[in-house]
C-alpha cells in the first residue's frame, strides 16, 4: 500500500510541477524579476541615506570582501534560476501529493480523480487561500513583519483551516460544523502579522502577483488531486495484473 501511495504521489507531484512551473515562468517569475529591480534600487537608496553609507560602500566596493558575503550561494540568473524553480516546484508538489495521499488514506477515502480533486481543493484552501487572506502573496522588496512570526501564523492558519474543513465536511454534525467554522475564522480574528510599509513597488504589480499566485496555487492543487486519483488506480490495476499473472 505504501508503494502504491508513494508511486501515485510521485506521478501526481511531477505532473502538477510541470503545469505549475510553466505557469510560474509565464505569469509570476517575470513579476518577481521586475520587483527585484525596485528592491535593488531601494537597497541602494537606504545605503546612501544611512550615516555609515561611506563605510558600507567602501566595504562592498573595496577588494577586501567580508567573509560571509561571498558564502551566500544563489543560482545564476536565467536558466539555472529557472531550473531550481522547477526543481523546488517538483519537490514541493511531491510533498503536497504525499500529504494529500496520507490524508485520503487516513480518512479511508478511495482515491479517484473526483475525490482527489475535492481533497486538492481543500488543500488549496488550507495552505494557499486561508493564509493569503491575512498574508497576501508578496513580491520581493515589500515590507513585512519578522519572518518567524509570519511563518508561525501561516502554519497555525493552515492547520486550523485543515481541522476546520475536516470537522465541517467529514464529521458533518451541527456541533462540529460550528466548531469548524470557529477554527477557520479564529486565525483571522487573532489577526495576521501584516505590515504595510512604504515601497516604490507599484501597487498594481503587487496586486497582479497576488491574484496570479493564487490562481497558480489552485491549478497546482487541482492537478495534484486529479492526477493522484488517476495514478492511484493506474498502480492498483498494475499490481492486480502482476498478481494474476504470477
Amino acid at each position: 500500500m505504501i508503494i502504491r501511495l508513494l508511486s501515485a504521489a510521485l506521478v501526481a507531484g511531477f505532473l502538477a510541477a510541470v503545469v505549475a512551473t510553466g505557469l510560474q515562468f509565464a505569469l509570476t517569475s517575470p513579476l518577481i524579476l521586475k520587483a527585484e529591480v525596485y528592491e535593488e534600487q531601494a537597497g541602494k537608496q537606504a545605503a546612501l541615506a544611512s550615516p555609515f553609507a561611506g563605510v558600507i560602500i567602501h566595504a562592498h566596493g573595496g577588494e577586501h570582501h567580508e567573509p560571509g558575503a561571498a558564502a551566500e550561494w544563489q543560482p545564476a540568473p536565467g536558466f539555472e534560476r529557472m531550473a531550481y524553480t522547477g526543481l523546488a516546484t517538483l519537490v514541493g508538489g511531491v510533498g503536497y501529493a504525499l500529504l494529500l495521499g496520507a490524508v485520503m488514506l487516513a480518512l479511508q477515502r478511495q482515491p479517484t480523480p473526483e475525490t482527489g480533486l475535492a481533497f486538492g481543493v481543500a488543500g488549496f484552501l488550507c495552505v494557499a487561500l486561508a493564509p493569503a487572506m491575512g498574508l497576501p502573496p508578496e513580491l520581493p522588496g515589500m515590507g513585512s513583519a519578522a519572518l518567524a512570526v509570519r511563518q508561525v501564523w501561516w502554519l497555525m492558519t493552515a492547520l486550523a483551516t485543515a481541522v476546520g474543513i475536516y470537522l465541517i465536511a467529514v464529521r458533518r454534525v451541527a456541533l462540529t460544523i460550528v466548531g469548524g467554522l470557529v477554527l477557520i475564522v479564529a486565525p483571522h480574528l487573532v489577526g495576521a502579522p501584516f505590515v504595510v510599509e512604504e515601497s516604490r513597488l507599484p501597487a498594481a504589480l503587487a496586486a497582479q502577483f497576488a491574484a496570479r499566485s493564487l490562481g497558480i496555487s489552485l491549478v497546482f492543487w487541482a492537478v495534484i488531486g486529479l492526477a493522484y486519483g488517476w495514478a492511484w488506480h493506474l498502480f492498483g490495476e498494475r499490481a492486480v495484473a502482476r498478481r494474476s499473472h504470477a
Binding site: Q74, P75, G95, G101, L105, V240
Partner: protein, 60 residues
C-alpha cells in the same frame, strides 16, 4: 473483475499497514514541504526563492 480484486485487497489489508503508510507518507510529505517552503538555510532559500514567493510561503 478489477473492482472485486481491489475490494478484496482492501478488506484483507490490516489497519496497521494503513497506519504505517499514513505515517510514512505524512512524514515524507512534511519533510519535503518544509525543505522547499520553510528551511532557513540560505542556499535552500535562494534555490526555492521564486517557488516560495509564488506559493505564498512567508519569505525573507
Amino acid at each position: 473483475m478489477s473492482t472485486s480484486a481491489t475490494l478484496q485487497t482492501a478488506a484483507t489489508t490490516g489497519t496497521s499497514e494503513r497506519t504505517r503508510a499514513v505515517a510514512i507518507a505524512a512524514l515524507l510529505g512534511l519533510g519535503l514541504v518544509f525543505m522547499t517552503g520553510f528551511a532557513p538555510a540560505t542556499a535552500l532559500h535562494n534555490a526555492a526563492h521564486d517557488f516560495r514567493h509564488t506559493q505564498n510561503f512567508p519569505c525573507h
